[in-house]
């Protein structure tokens, strides 16, 4: 696998959407290629950062109460 082929699969790799075979091929390339490895780490980092930052916060209590009345 060359760098371009690795780049093309990196998003799916970060999102855990590759087949076992492709995953191993990307892994092998990343172990041998610091620039791609660095790129991978940044992508993964960004994905996790977005998750952590957007995941916080709760629905307002009055909305929950209203919905319980509607639903039950």
């Amino acid at each position: 696998m060359n760098c371009r082929e690795c780049e093309e699969r990196l998003q799916s790799y970060v999102d855990r959407e590759l087949s076992e075979q492709e995953l191993l091929e990307v892994q092998r390339h990343l172990e041998a290629c610091p620039p791609c490895e660095n790129h991978f780490r940044l992508q993964l980092h960004l994905k996790r950062l977005v998750k952590v930052c957007c995941e916080s916060g709760q629905a307002p209590a009055h909305l929950r109460a209203k919905l319980r009345q509607i639903l039950f």
């Binding site: 998003q11 799916s12 999102d15 977005v50 930052c53 957007c54 629905a59 509607i70 039950f72």
Partner: protein, 216 residues
């Protein structure tokens, strides 16, 4: 369509609503069964509210959107197949309500996807669009949320589904009613823009030092 997550097209298409309503017999399904449904559904309240807040960027509108999502879910609960992905089913309802109510229609003909395929990987290695990991760590959470909220809706919703909610490409594709390839290209562009705006922010806020700082 959308068999995997139990999203019935009838729920998603306004024109089909009357058909479903005829089959829907309120009163006959009250009791334990609908309580189970309601209990499971309300378990996703915080998740849906956060998603609604990111979509509408307005707490009052987010509340309305979430409430309408639950009303529609309750009305069409028969189209939900027990044991399938209720979170995806609810997100599909909410997402379609969002586009119908707040954006005046479905996003079929938005030109955002136009040149997605051609440029998909070309600018991937643009070094100026790529903040370093330690730079990312010093950006406040509010700023990351703001960057997400600045994405065009079509890009924002796929980031919410895949990155925040952990949907597979397949489930996201079913919620959004687009091919998996479209999910991937929107996601790619969304992340590229996120990287760019976070990098811009880091530069403006003076978080970026070293070579880029000295050069400027």
């Amino acid at each position: 369509m959308a068999v995997g997550i139990g999203v019935s097209v009838a729920v998603l298409e306004p024109g089909m609503a009357t058909m479903v309503a005829v089959a829907d017999d309120p009163g006959s399904e009250r009791g334990a069964q609908s309580d189970d449904f309601a209990e499971e559904a309300i378990g996703y309240l915080d998740t849906l509210y956060r998603g609604a807040l990111r979509l509408t960027r307005d707490p009052a509108q987010a509340e309305d959107l979430v409430q309408d999502t639950y009303l529609r879910a309750l009305r069409y609960r028969h189209s939900y197949q027990s044991g399938t992905n209720m979170k995806a089913w609810l997100f599909a309802i909410m997402r379609n309500l969002f586009w119908d109510r707040f954006k005046g229609g479905r996003p079929e003909d938005v030109s955002l996807d136009g040149d997605a395929e051609a440029s998909l990987y070309d600018t991937l290695k643009d070094p100026t669009a790529m903040p370093e990991a330690d730079v990312l760590d010093r950006i406040a959470a509010d700023e990351v949320v703001r960057a997400v909220e600045q994405l065009p809706e079509l890009h924002r919703e796929v980031v919410l589904l895949v990155d925040v909610e952990g949907f597979s490409y397949k489930d996201a594709a079913e919620v959004l009613q687009v091919p998996i390839g479209t999910v991937m290209s929107r996601l790619h562009r969304a992340r590229r823009q996120l990287q760019r705006s976070l990098q811009d922010y880091a530069r403006e806020a003076g978080i970026v030092h070293g070579e880029q700082g000295r050069a400027g």
